[in-house]
């Protein structure tokens, strides 16, 4: 093994793959039954965290960064003058196995530039997964990128070896995509997603009849949208996400704040900031849809198309619906408890359990870990709550913002004092 050459390739191909946000290793259910190597951990494991605070769960690399396409938002685009490299199937397998044995990773996330046609590229990705599964009895997590345009046959084979398959939508609207990646189209990207969805449904049906059906992408599929490269509203973005959750059996939609790295008149300037707060708010909205029973239209609407950067979307919703508060913590339904600002899903579970034993008050909520700085204004219980009347105060928005300093507020951006 030529260690220096491998290292150089690894550096190039990890660098090119890092803008893919997904690193999740959850949802898999592979067991180590064959006395082989590895298994899936239901909730996934983050083995490390990089200095940008992101989780490192999988060896996330491109097979190659040679690409025939010229998408404006992508570092690996054809016209970009960068170093190019390509791994062999064996090299990827060797790295995966050796990293896994040392407990560095949960598995492999393999993507690729399109170096010739779609089928050849996809076939090469599948070969890595197949080699790991059959030659090495590897039961760790494998996430493969679906290459749009690959034949159904190859995609089906991919699903047999991979735990998760994904296609990145990247640009939420067809119009934006046409501007930045004229060679691509949404309909082409939706094809592999539809196939995976249909296969998953089919697999579920067959499982009802036959016990032993080969697994098909047990951790489902995911996608990613770049935020801030084109001019979509947040409303548009969460509507697209909602559409995928509803119609494509999507496990996750990822939002990737655009990192300016290329000079191009169609893109934000290279000096613009990564929209990290906006990205964070989108994830919060996504969580509200998936775990808190909110509909996309409740979070935003046409007349109100951007998320409030100063406060989380649940709090923003509450301020627009003060008539629904205060909520009685001893009698309210689970659905309504989930809508109280500062109360998360775990706290709701605790409240529901604990109130079978006794009547609850603010003190109890505090011990359970509820964020009282927000929740205290919105709840009521058997004794008097001195905070609820503030809801009707004309400066309520300011009152609540003052008591909940955002984690993104820089201590240096405060107005200067006299001295």
């Amino acid at each position: 093994m030529n260690i220096d050459r491998i290292q150089e390739k690894l550096e190039i191909l990890a660098d090119a793959a890092k803008y893919d946000v997904s690193c999740s290793s959850s949802g898999g259910n592979r067991k180590n039954k064959n006395g082989g190597l590895g298994n899936s951990h239901a909730s996934g494991i983050c083995h490390s965290y990089t200095e940008d605070g992101r989780c490192v769960s999988l060896l996330k690399i491109l097979l190659t960064n040679h690409c025939i396409y010229d998408c404006a938002y992508c570092v690996s685009r054809k016209s970009n003058e960068i170093k190019r490299a390509a791994f062999t199937v064996e090299e990827v397998v060797d790295l995966t196995i050796n990293f896994y044995r040392r407990n560095f990773i949960e598995g492999l996330f393999l993507s690729s530039g399109i170096f010739t046609d779609s089928d050849t590229t996809m076939e090469r990705l599948v070969r890595v997964a197949k080699n790991l599964r059959t030659e090495h009895q590897f039961n760790g997590y494998i996430h493969l990128k679906s290459i749009p345009g690959a034949s159904d046959e190859i995609m089906r084979e991919a699903g047999l070896y991979a735990d998760r398959l994904s296609v990145n939508l990247e640009i939420p609207t067809e119009k934006g995509l046409k501007l930045l990646a004229p060679e691509k189209s949404h309909s082409e990207m939706l094809k592999p997603m539809t196939l995976v969805k249909n296969e998953l449904v089919l697999y579920k049906e067959e499982r009802k009849i036959f016990k032993k059906v080969p697994k098909f992408a047990p951790a489902g599929q995911s996608t990613q949208m770049i935020v801030g490269a084109t001019d979509e509203t947040d409303f548009k973005i969460i509507k697209v996400a909602d559409h995928f959750y509803q119609n494509y059996n999507m496990k996750r939609v990822y939002y990737s704040g655009y990192v300016p790295m290329l000079e191009d008149a169609r893109l934000p300037s290279i000096h613009s900031q990564v929209p990290m707060v906006r990205e964070n708010r989108l994830y919060q909205a996504d969580w509200l849809m998936r775990f808190y029973g909110f509909k996309a239209d409740e979070i935003l609407d046409r007349s109100n198309p951007f998320l409030d950067l100063e406060m989380d979307p649940k709090l923003a919703w509450s301020l627009r619906h003060l008539e629904q508060f205060p909520v009685n913590i001893n009698t309210a339904s689970k659905e309504m408890l989930l809508r109280i600002p500062g109360v998360g899903t775990k706290s709701v579970r605790k409240i529901l359990m604990a109130r079978k034993f006794q009547k609850l008050n603010l003190d109890h909520l505090k011990k359970m870990g509820v964020a009282l700085n927000r929740a205290k204004f919105f709840v009521e219980f058997e004794s008097h709550n001195v905070f609820t009347h503030l809801i009707d105060h004309q400066n309520f928005r300011k009152i609540i913002l003052d008591s909940t300093k955002s984690k993104f507020t820089s201590p240096f951006s405060e107005q200067l004092t006299l001295f």
């Binding site: 951990h41 200095e51 940008d52 990293f99 604990a354 006794q358 109890h364």
Partner: protein, 254 residues
Amino acid sequence: MTTLIYDGSFEGLMTAIFEIFEYQFRDAEICSQENYKVENIFATVHEVQTQVEKSDRVLKKLEQNLGKSAVSQLLMVFLSEDPQLENLIVSAVKYSVSRPNQNVLNDFAHSEMMQIAKVCKSVSREVHRMNAFVRFEKLQDDFYFAKVEPDFNVLPLIFKHFKARYQDQKWMIFDLKRHYGIFSDRENADFFYPNEWDQNKFIKTQNLLHEDELKYQKLWQRYFFKTNIPERKNIKLHVKSLPKRYWKYLTEKY
């Protein structure tokens, strides 16, 4: 007032709890041999002989009242090494006896039960961190070896995970704080308690490394560096997720 002294084992503690009810001690406190230092002149001392039958009866009753997962929560409290662990477990048992038809651990408005939930949360987090942050080094004898210093005594709780995952390799995890470890050589998997001479060998492994080891460590370090996005630098979040006390044994943070 009675002080019950037990041998420091989980079975010992369960036996002590059995005897509180058996002898109807009022105002009893339980203390492990190791922690029993200052004699309380107002207390009578009762030495507990660990008996598996008594311990099993307590556990069986708890399982009936609280369910299996609650019993493993109490085991977590025990492994937390919390100075209040005996009191917390006793209060859970007593509360459970008074309300046998409910899982009293779910009474999060009860201060001791909430404390138990908190301790369990900390211990589970440490278990998850160990599953994540253990770093094996391949040695010349093909053993994959890792050193850890967990905040709580979690090796018994992570054993199953590593056994299931690494079935086709020989591995060892050694707790430097508590001087014992777990291992599997593919045929056997067990706890091990090395003597001092072996312990010293475990602390310094540089000379025992397999010839490929440093190459893969270097590759991992370079990967870790390259997969970071400098424009998104967020050290606060980095350190929160990866607390500094773990860096010593993390290959990518050497």
